[in-house]
Amino acid sequence: MDHPPVSPRARTARASLTLPAVLTPVLRWANAVRAKVRGLAQLLVEGRGPYARAFENIILALVIFSIASIGVESIPGLPQWATRALHVAEIIVVAIFTFEYLLRIGAARNKFAFIFSYQGLVDLLAIAPFYLLGFDARWLRALRLLRLLRVLKLQTHFLEEVVEERTRDLAEKNAALEKAQAQLKAELEVARALQLAILPAAFPTRAGCEAAARMIPATTMGGDFYDYIELPDGQIGLVIADVSGHGVPAAFFMAVARTNLHELAVHHIDPGECLAQTNDALCAQNPLDLFVTVFYCVLDPKSGVLRYANGGHNPPYIRRAAGSVETLRGAGGLVLGAMPGGRYPTHTAQLLPGDRLVLFTDGVTEAFNPAEELYGAQRLADEVHVHGGGTPAALVERICQSVTNFAGTAPQSDDITLTVLTWGPP
């Protein structure tokens, strides 16, 4: 025990030191009252809730009432009961104003600043004469009408806040929208890349054969594609196709159609049979009711025999070595994906040395110019006729130039796709 012994005197001193402890309940009570006052002040004079507004309005009404009573009191020969009633009313009004004044002081962070502020002085002037001098100073209360200005300020403040809130809301929504748009754009870019990646990079090498192709995707992205397929017996399959509609759905359907056709072509050498099988496969799983126009032909590079079938696609052109342009006619079938069980007749054509086969989609012939005129089949046939003598790549380039020149500033609403093949005996 290393505590020093405590003398009785020291004990007395300690007891006197704990005297404030006796006051603790009182202090606690005072604190509670202060908290209550603060709470009340916040509710009535500080906040912007419905109570504060109601209180504000009551004070305003009282201000107007007490000003009016000055006028009433000045009426000569007022009955005594009226004078007394007005006096009682005056006492009540002053009591309420005093209550309000005290609340405001209680609510003020810097109480001195409030007391000496314009509003604080006006509030004090409105009640102080009643207490100090006992004389009626209701005229001073006219100053309190200046509170009306405060109401105006309050209203503007509310308005500003609403505008601010709306602006903030709008900015947030705009940001969300911009983000969504950026995401959508990124997804479209992916779909576009997918669409381009699916296209074959090069034509299979065969002596005597040469091909070139190009697709210019539309601004809204369509679903055109072309394909070269190496068949087991050495023949070459050639596809050009156009999926209905635009955007991501079309790109997906294009990928599905291209894969199906590519797979089935290996097992079904007959072009018509291949299209029929592809059609059934597409119809079996087509939740968006899309469809695709397909021209499919199989070239025997040794003999130049071309067998083809058409599923609702623009018939291609053959440009003969001498320059004449023929259309690869022959009854076709319905577009693929629209109705199962369709039949696609196979037709045969003979390519001669130096002939060119020109496959295209309606993005070429149905390109519009700013005057809303169609490019049309005749312009294409003319280009093929006049400029078809060179390499396939040159003809593809030539036609693309011709179409884009024609369209000018008109937006490109559909994919533009072209494939040109030349054949000569090996």
Partner: protein, 118 residues
């Protein structure tokens, strides 16, 4: 593209005017669906009068296909008439003229369309 619907007895004549392209197709499709699957009693037949139809894109064709299917489901006859040459060619090339009857003009479409048989 504008759309007008005329009622001749129990037959609804849909008259699209302008270009039925990717942008116009959804509205056209919706109009057909309302006509065929709407709350009211469906018409006995729907005839699309192509007099004012200048152009049909593949998205437009799809609207026709969906319309023809909806008509078949509700047992409503569905036919086209008075197509301009360019539009007629699109229907022939795509094979759609084989699954949707195409008539030369409205009179023959009305005469030959058997209500209730698509």
């Amino acid at each position: 593209m504008n759309l007008r619907i005329e009622t001749i007895g129990e037959v609804s004549c849909v008259v699209p005017v302008g270009r039925l392209d990717f942008d116009a197709a959804p509205g056209f499709q919706e109009a057909l669906e309302r006509l065929l699957g709407g709350a009211g009693k469906p018409p006995a037949a729907v005839i699309i009068d192509g007099t004012g139809l200048e152009y049909v894109s593949s998205a437009g064709l799809r609207a026709f296909l969906l319309g023809a299917r909806a008509a078949q489901r509700s047992g409503v006859a569905f036919a086209l008439c008075a197509l301009q040459p360019a539009v007629r060619e699109v229907f022939e090339l795509s094979g759609f003229s084989r699954i949707i009857p195409v008539h030369a003009d409205r009179a023959s479409a009305l005469a030959q369309t058997q209500p209730g048989r698509a």
